[in-house]
Amino acid sequence: MTPPATAAARTDALEQAPLIVGTPTDRVLNDELLDHVWNPKRGWKILFGIALAGTGLLLTGVTVTLARGIGMWGNNIPVAWAYDIINFVWWIGIGHAGTLISAILLLFQQKWRTSINRFAEAMTLFAVMQAGLFPLIHLGRPWFAFWLFPSPATLGLWPNFKSPLIWDVFAVSTYLTVSFLFWYLGLIPDLAALRDASRSKAQRIAYGIFALGWRGSARHYQHYRIGYLILAALSTPLVLSVHSIVSFDFAVSQLPGWHTTIFPPYFVAGAVFSGFAMVMTLMIPARKFLGFERVVTERHLENMAKVMLVTGLMVSYGYLMEHFIAWYSGNAYEAFVFSNRANGPYRAIYFAMLFCNVVVPQAFWWRKARTNIAWLFIASLLVNVGMWTERFIIIVTSLHRDYLPSSWGMYAPTWVDWSIFTGTLCFFSLLFLLFLRFVPAVAVTEVKELRHELAHAHAGGKEAAH
């Protein structure tokens, strides 16, 4: 393994760190990037065991909920939405980075997306799965979940399509499906590379089936490339729509603290912020242990830190504007909700949110902070925590004290709430570990294409200089 390039290796102060370290051949890239599938790393089984055990918590929590009812959770009037919706919004926000990296950065021709897109797309899929679980079990009788979709039944009833909650059903299920199709379409050539590099007949047959018969044909690539590009163009507004629609669940209601027009853009920025933080949290250990340092370089991490800085500033602007409008509107209830956030019983969580989401990303103004791996990892964890507390603040503090002081109350989660939340963290890790074990985590085909493009550009540049 060659060591990653350091700043000292740069020839010019203005030239950025490389996207691919060294000049590997296609064969070397193929061997290195698929190595984690052929030779599982030592710690994998231990991590898998922990994640599997933790998934037991999820099963326990869900079983208790189904057997005894959602009264086992801490939410009750006035705080009727709590962990279920906090965790739903948190997970779905995390699920935004994958498609943003894959689709939006593809359209903007940001070449650095190539090494991290597949990884981020998988994270998206698994995060959206966790997200979907929460509203599903919050239905109380999840076996009637199909009532959310228009299905002809003896009742003769249809869903009320004027409700943002129904929009949410369509947005999240469309997002999950389209993200899966986008991920799988991109994966087909990589699965073919796995099939052809496989060492046993069983592997060859298994990957052969999933590769669907891909043979790298130029006639297929013609349809493939344009199809992938249009799918990216469709996914771009889709990403923006999903968290906007999630924010409508709140913004369309009359509740002070929820009823604001800034919610859609502010939610989308927060989603991208937390999604990039999660990609960072997962990528920093993965690139080290799976040997992706050649293709996921300092420059990739630095660019992700820049995106976190920008989206963190947008989120900070959202906080500022919410408080400003609460004061400027002259509405006593709005003003109370926002002063209650900073002075009420949940103020510790409020200040934790401000610290994690507003203060922490400011470090990324400095290049030293953007390229310090340990700091990036800690900051990404803090942002994950910060975005969770943000959803807690939005949901719980707005609900617990609204118009009538006689109906005020407090909320505290129960052990069932905690085990379902921790369980989804473990289930997410479980799915991600399976992905790292069996599927190419870096888009091998796209990295090879990028290598050729960079080589051509380099050769062209030399000729022009002469």
């Binding site: 004027k162 590379a193 044909s217 130029a218 294409e449």
Partner: protein
């Protein structure tokens, strides 16, 4: 259908590959194809491919999604079971936008994904080119050319390709 043979040849550079493909097309072989581990920049032009129909499929899928969503929301909530909320309009177009957008994207994505698989003829895991063991490098690091010919022509075409500088040439038979 009569039986055909597939002649495969590996080339060391994109230029040699393109040159060989052009010669075969000039000689009247319409079924020339190139195989590479990553998309080649000039393959469409070398093979003389017409525009892909995938964008059209995407458009049709999207329109079908929009039409489905609009008619579904209108028929269920205004015709079959009208829900009158404070005498508000039964067909509120702004409130229909989110679902209309989502279904448009969904059906368009289905059209792209399954349309592309249909155009590829996938799933097809038993293609004759896979009979050649060396062809496995086509998805790893090698550039290959394939052409479908009549069995009696196979040897002659293979010989031509060998002389044109191919690194290796193989013939894969296909039962018709």
């Amino acid at each position: 259908m009569s039986a055909t043979s597939w002649v495969l040849a590996e080339y060391r550079s994109e230029e040699e590959l393109y040159a060989a493909a052009r010669r075969l097309r000039m000689a009247g072989h319409a079924s020339v194809d190139l195989h590479s581990p990553y998309p080649l920049t000039r393959s469409d032009e070398v093979l003389g491919l017409s525009r892909s129909r995938v964008p059209l499929l995407a458009l049709l899928g999207g329109l079908a999604g929009v039409a489905t969503a609009l008619s579904m929301q209108w028929w269920t909530n205004a015709v079959d079971y009208p829900i009158n909320v404070g005498n508000r309009t039964l067909v509120p177009y702004p409130a229909m936008v989110p679902i209309t957008f989502e279904l448009g994207v969904l059906l368009s994505a289905f059209a792209i994904f399954f349309g592309a698989l249909g155009l590829f003829g996938f799933p097809r895991t038993h293609h004759p080119v896979f009979e050649v063991e060396g062809f496995r490098t086509a998805s790893i690091d090698a550039l290959w050319l394939s052409v479908e010919v009549k069995p009696e022509e196979a040897e002659r075409v293979a010989e031509d390709l060998r002389r044109s500088g191919a690194a290796q040439v193989a013939v894969a038979p296909e039962a018709g």
